[in-house]
């Protein structure tokens, strides 16, 4: 089973790592959480149900870890609810944050400014090329909800970029 997971690792390591980094805004944490995701997948491989796609199963593990990390970081920093859903606070620190030039930085900040529920759908769709169906399976919601969250995320990003003078 471990070999099977390692095969999945070859296919999805970049996607999982990118997704967690995008969600947390912290590359060091992303590395650690990606390790944990694959370690958990190895440990839980026997319980994998063929009803789920290996890809969505892996992403569900990664998503849970990323959301837990965000929640625990919020508690540690005693932040207001929602404030940490964006990356603005982390962006000030150089540790592992995504470096960006001015224009791309605006995009990064705009994505980081989305709520976690919208950011995860946007990242799964644009970075990992997941279909609405795969996203819905990963996060456990109807396909229509995944689609509407993605539409809302795009609308919010356009609005945020427009406010910053970026088209």
């Amino acid at each position: 089973m471990r070999e099977w997971v390692e095969g999945l690792y070859d296919s999805y390591k970049d996607g999982i790592y990118s997704f967690i980094a995008g969600m947390t805004g912290d590359r060091h944490a992303a590395e650690d959480l990606t390790q944990e995701a694959f370690a958990r997948a190895m440990a839980a491989a026997k319980g994998f149900e063929a009803r789920a796609l290996p890809k969505t199963w892996l992403f569900a593990i990664a998503r849970n870890l990323a959301l837990s990390h965000i929640a625990s970081r919020r508690r540690r920093r005693n932040e207001e609810p929602g404030a940490l859903d964006g990356f603005a606070a982390d962006d000030a620190s150089p540790s592992g944050m995504i470096e960006a030039k001015e224009t791309s930085k605006a995009l990064v900040l705009a994505v980081q400014g989305l709520t976690a529920a919208h950011r995860e759908v946007f990242l799964m769709k644009t970075i990992d090329g997941m279909t609405y169906r795969e996203i819905a399976e990963t996060i456990g919601c109807p396909v229509g909800t995944a689609q509407s969250r993605f539409h809302y995320a795009v609308k919010e990003l356009r609005r945020a970029l427009s406010r910053q003078g970026v088209e």
Binding site: K13, F38, R40, I98, L107, L123
Partner: protein, 160 residues
């Protein structure tokens, strides 16, 4: 297709979620409508920009670390502490009791068992099982029998 409908579907087209007639209709409208074409181009640019910013290559050391973590945590299901403690307690109890009967008292136990089987006294099989409301009486009756055989066990053990 009008602009409102096209604007609704542009995100899905740029995201690769449209196919067939819908895909062709949106593409055809965008080709002749400057505003919708601009929206489509901006949406595609947004997605490309997001990929450029957020798509990363995972450091190669991750899988080795994941292997170590999986090895450290084990692949078998975790057993709660209370269940482990209960298992140890029960195992110790069984080991102790089996040792008790299999050891020095085995001979006496067998002798008492033979005596009980050989008992033909009319009252022996009439020992009442405990019943709700009459626990005391039944217990008393059963107890007397028990102590009878316990006494015989001691006699056998002493060789008297």
């Amino acid at each position: 297709m009008d602009c409102d409908k096209c604007q609704e579907l542009i995100v899905d087209l740029a995201a690769g979620e449209l196919a067939g007639d819908d895909e062709r209709a949106v593409a055809a409208h965008a080709a002749q409508c400057a505003a919708c074409r601009k929206t489509l181009e901006e949406t595609r640019a947004l997605f490309a920009g997001a990929r450029a910013e957020f798509a990363l290559a995972a450091p190669p050391r991750i899988i080795a670390a994941a292997r170590r973590r999986a090895g450290a945590s084990g692949t078998s299901p975790r057993v709660p502490l209370w269940a482990a403690a209960a298992a140890v307690f029960i195992a110790a109890l069984l080991a102790g009791s089996s040792g008790y009967f299999a050891g020095k008292n085995e001979e006496g136990r067998r002798a008492v068992y033979a005596a009980v089987v050989a008992d033909s006294s009319p009252g022996f099989w009439k020992v009442k099982a405990p019943r709700p409301g009459k626990v005391g009486a039944a217990k008393e009756e059963g107890r007397s029998k028990f102590w009878d055989y316990r006494a015989r066990y001691d006699e056998i053990k002493r060789g008297t």
